[in-house]
């Protein structure tokens, strides 16, 4: 029931994405997150220093994760809430479905949560006879379309306004067929009206968490629509689903991280709503759920602690890496084939579903390094993608042609004299073959290149042979 990964057929996904004119149009017109981030960073003189302190907070927390998780649990219990530990996706689904079932829930509203996507929660709730309703506008749209998010903070970034209109006309059948839905405001108003009824009908509200605060037992979410507030305040039961690395020691720490989160994500100084929840409704509270549960998911993350992928657990899910990634920008998020796209997905996916399944992703990078340059917690993403390639190489998982080609090349590259001789012959032959046009439109064994671009012919003899001839081979 967990999301099935299509990551092993990444190249096919890429081809589909690149030949999908509608998707390509949507990607070109997607919000200019990168430009807005640059402006936000420039406006705040201490932005770079804040990135350092954000990294330090996360590193400190990861070094003492057990301690802070236990402290957090004690605080949640003290404030009248419940903590459930889920080792894997299956356990998390079971816990949440049981909680909902035992309370006779019919409708479950949901705030945006990537962990919920990771564990395939909606399908599990539906299979148990409950209606799961996404309340984030983007999530609501893709739920109608039967899709998964294509971006971790802008789940429907691959969808156009016209697509949304079509989906709404299909789904909201009790509304006049001749209504005008040509403007974004009209779509928004209709979604708001539809969702309002769901909020009121919901028995259980499920949200994710951007941070879990050990000091106070508080969970924090940020949204721009306020849907998270209505999801967690109106139903009788509020369930938070979050993974172990969402913990931070103090509210002060969370405040520091919030300062880099929105700026890195959308270029906002702060998200429109930052909502803190601590325990269920107390005596005298005007609103709030009567039950407060937190499901804390591991799902392979504790195995990353202390290893070469630990830095990945600093990630605060801002999406800056994908907003700046040439690969993501070309194909969008669905091509990555599992829950997390972009550079952070390229590192995290093999950790969570295995390198045999997810190995394509860390290979499909130019190592341009822009992701690391903008990461608010300075995760060395290219370095970790290279580590995955090393794990693949050790286990001989990389394609055989690539391994043999590399071995052939290495044989020469490790023998300078032989190399000079061989490349001298090769270069001369290629120069001669390409001398008329100066380039090749196709070349045997170079189809990966020449199918798409011309290949320049070598100018003449190699530099080293010319240099030796000129200088009488003294060095």
């Amino acid at each position: 029931m967990t999301v099935v990964a299509t990551t092993p057929r990444f190249k096919g996904n890429v081809h589909d994405a690149l030949t999908d004119a509608r998707l390509q149009g949507a990607l070109v017109h997607a919000s200019n997150f990168a430009g807005r981030r640059a402006l936000a960073a420039a406006r705040l003189p201490e932005f770079e220093a804040l990135r350092d302190s954000a990294r330090a907070i996360k590193d400190h927390t990861l070094a003492h994760l057990d301690l802070y998780l236990e402290a957090y649990e004690r605080k949640v219990v003290e404030t009248g809430g419940h903590v459930h530990w889920a080792e894997d996706a299956e356990a998390a689904r079971r816990i949440i479905v049981d909680l909902c079932k035992r309370r006779g829930a019919k409708t479950v509203t949901k705030g945006k949560s990537m962990i919920s996507e990771e564990i395939g929660l909606n399908a599990a709730l539906e299979a148990a006879g409950m209606a799961a309703v996404e309340t984030d506008l983007g999530e609501y749209i893709i739920q109608l379309r039967g899709e998964t998010p294509s971006h971790i903070i802008a789940p429907a970034i691959h969808v156009t306004k016209e697509d949304v209109e079509r989906e709404f006309r299909k789904a909201h059948l009790d509304r006049p067929a001749d209504r005008d839905l040509s403007q974004p405001e009209q779509l928004l108003a209709e979604a708001r009206a539809e969702l309002r009824a769901k909020f009121m009908a919901a028995d259980v509200g499920v949200t994710g968490a951007n941070f879990l605060v050990a000091e106070t037992g508080t969970s924090i979410i940020v949204t721009n629509e306020g849907n998270g507030d209505l999801t967690q305040i109106l139903p009788r039961v509020h369930i938070v689903i979050a993974s172990i690395e969402k913990i931070v020691p103090t509210l002060e720490d969370a405040a520091q991280l919030l300062r880099v989160l929105a700026r890195s994500a959308t270029g906002q100084d702060a998200s429109v709503y930052t909502t803190l929840s601590t325990g269920p409704r107390r005596e005298g509270d005007k609103d709030g759920p009567s039950e407060y549960h937190v499901v804390i998911l591991d799902n392979g993350r504790s195995a990353m602690l202390g290893g070469e992928f630990e830095d990945m657990l600093r990630c605060i899910r801002c999406g800056a890496c994908m907003n700046h990634c040439p690969v993501y920008q070309a194909v969008g998020g669905h091509a990555y084939g599992w829950v997390y796209p972009g550079p952070m997905g390229a590192v995290l996916t093999p950790s969570l579903i295995g390198v045999a399944e997810g190995g394509q992703l860390p290979n499909a990078s130019t190592f341009c390094g822009r992701c690391e340059a903008v990461c608010p917690v300075r995760i060395p993403l290219p370095k970790m993608m290279r580590h995955w390639r090393e794990r693949e190489f050790e286990r001989a998982l990389s394609p055989a042609a690539q391994r043999y080609g590399l071995r052939f090349w290495a044989f020469f590259a490790k023998r300078p004299t032989l190399y000079r001789f061989a490349t001298g012959l090769f270069t001369r032959a290629l120069h001669w073959a390409g001398r008329k046009k100066g380039r090749f439109a196709s070349l045997p064994l170079a189809g990966g290149w020449t199918d798409y671009r011309d290949l320049a012919a070598p100018e003449r003899a190699t530099f080293q042979s010319q240099w030796r001839a000129k200088s009488g081979a003294v060095n």
Partner: protein, 263 residues
Amino acid sequence: MSNEQGAGRPVKPRVGLFVTCLVDLMRPTVGFAAVKLLEDAGCKVVVPAQTCCGQPAYNSGDRTTAADIARQTIAAFEGCDYVVAPSGSCGGMLIRHYPELFAGEPDMAIRAERFAAKTHELVSFLTDVLGVTRVAARFEGTVAYHDSCSGLRELEVKAQPRRLLKSVEGLTLVELDEAETCCGFGGMFAAKYGELSNAIVARKADDVRKSAAGTLIAGDLGCLLNMAGKLQREGSPVRVRHVAEVLAGMADGPAIGEPEIKP
């Protein structure tokens, strides 16, 4: 052979040219342009026998082969005051990644650190180490400079080439909208993920077309071969050259992918 070690920089530093495998095989002109720029700036240039920096192995997960090649390169340039490469990508490998290859070998790690400390990308070496502020070259035309990723992000090469290009007589420098966005080369990536690489370089070609540039230049031959190949496949008249050719006044021959000029 001059190897005079003064208190600071040697008077006539002995510079080992790490020519890079792509320049060696595909475009020796860039190597000779680098030699000219270095000699004009007062260096003694030597070219020790060399192959490749090892990136194809390193980026394919084969650390052992990458370390073997690194050992060989470090030894080859032992007698040089400086090592200079006309590439930010190979320069980044030599400077940032060689030291990472020898985590478990303290002796080699120290040698790799020393090697990294004396190694530079060509243009930033001219400006930041030798203090070159202008070059004596002419180039008639409008030029856009693409920031190759490794040079930009690993070695902070950004202002240096622009500063020197502005000193070239007759040259007008324009900026691409997305000068800092990857061209989609990525070494083996370009062939392994050809279709994806093509989509990325197609955007770069669009960006070049939108600019007024008649010539596109950059500091890395890999990126240049990729961008030239795409522009030529699309029938663009934009010519593509390495920054060293322009700075050395050696940009009168055929541009990348153009046939030899018949006498």
